[in-house]
């Protein structure tokens, strides 16, 4: 699908960047004139994807995360969060609600929330090489625009 505009951000896997990443994605998405609920949905999904990369991809070191936000043809948003961390052995299992390899600070609901707040969610992962999460969400055209 043709990309009409995009932004790419690289940052280290520090938890202070979670709020930065979701705010940046929300700012870029503003070009589509989303409703507050749509912006919040995107922010929530981005927060989950970036937190996963910070907590699970790099459990014992600081590594690189790249987030790309793109406007697609048809008034849609695509968000890609990529890391070069440990990868996921069993993606199907990781996507199940309540499954987590994290400690008690994690609820195991990250992928469930990404799935319910976005239209599509694709997870590609190679153990030892890293993980790429791709999410898409159509933003409704509002009357008079």
């Amino acid at each position: 699908m043709k990309k009409e505009n995009y932004v790419s951000l690289e940052f280290p896997s520090r938890s202070a960047n979670e709020s930065f990443a979701r705010a940046a994605a929300a700012c870029f998405a503003a070009q589509l004139d989303p409703t507050l609920e749509e912006v919040n949905d995107v922010k929530t999904a981005v927060s989950e994807a970036v937190t996963n990369a910070i907590v699970h991809a790099y459990p014992d070191r600081i590594g690189k995360i790249v987030m790309r936000v793109a406007l697609l043809e048809g008034h849609a948003l695509e968000i890609v969060v990529k890391d070069w961390g440990v990868g996921i052995e069993d993606v199907e299992k990781a996507r199940e609600p309540l499954f987590t390899t994290g400690n008690q600070e994690r609820a195991g609901m990250g992928f469930t929330i990404m799935e319910s707040f976005m239209d599509t969610l694709k997870v590609r992962s190679v153990p030892g090489k890293g993980t790429t999460v791709t999410m898409r969400r159509k933003i409704a055209r509002r009357a008079g625009r």
Binding site: S15, A16, E18, S19, R22, E37, N40, D41, K43, T44, S47, E48, T51, I54, V55, P97, Q104, E105, R106, A107, G108, M109, G110, T112, I113, S116, F117
Partner: protein
């Protein structure tokens, strides 16, 4: 830290404000558990009306407080949940376990 606690009789009232994500979750959990263990309240009221954003980290924080209150035979309720947080909690089915008012 986005949580402050006060006691009213045997009720512990925890007010969470600002953004509660993974970056903040550990400190909030520790503060909440510490205050529960100290006060041993009959009821914990978590007031979320000043919460501007949360994600699954908020689910983990509420579940942990709920379990701790269960261990001391206390109850827990959550009040003032904003729309964004409510949608997150609903996606996890949290309302089946925790009382939202």
């Amino acid at each position: 830290m986005p949580v402050t606690c006060r006691e009213e009789g045997r009720t512990l009232i925890a007010t969470v404000s600002g953004e509660l994500d993974h970056h903040e979750a550990k400190a909030v959990m520790e503060e909440l558990e510490g205050r529960i263990d100290q006060a041993l309240p009959r009821q914990l009221t978590v007031d979320l009306k000043g919460l501007t954003f949360t994600d699954s980290s908020g689910i983990a924080v509420l579940l942990r407080a709920w379990r701790r209150m269960g261990q001391i035979q206390g109850s827990m309720r959550v009040v003032g949940t904003p729309a964004q947080a409510e949608k997150v909690f609903r996606a996890a089915g949290l309302e089946r376990m925790i009382r939202f008012e």
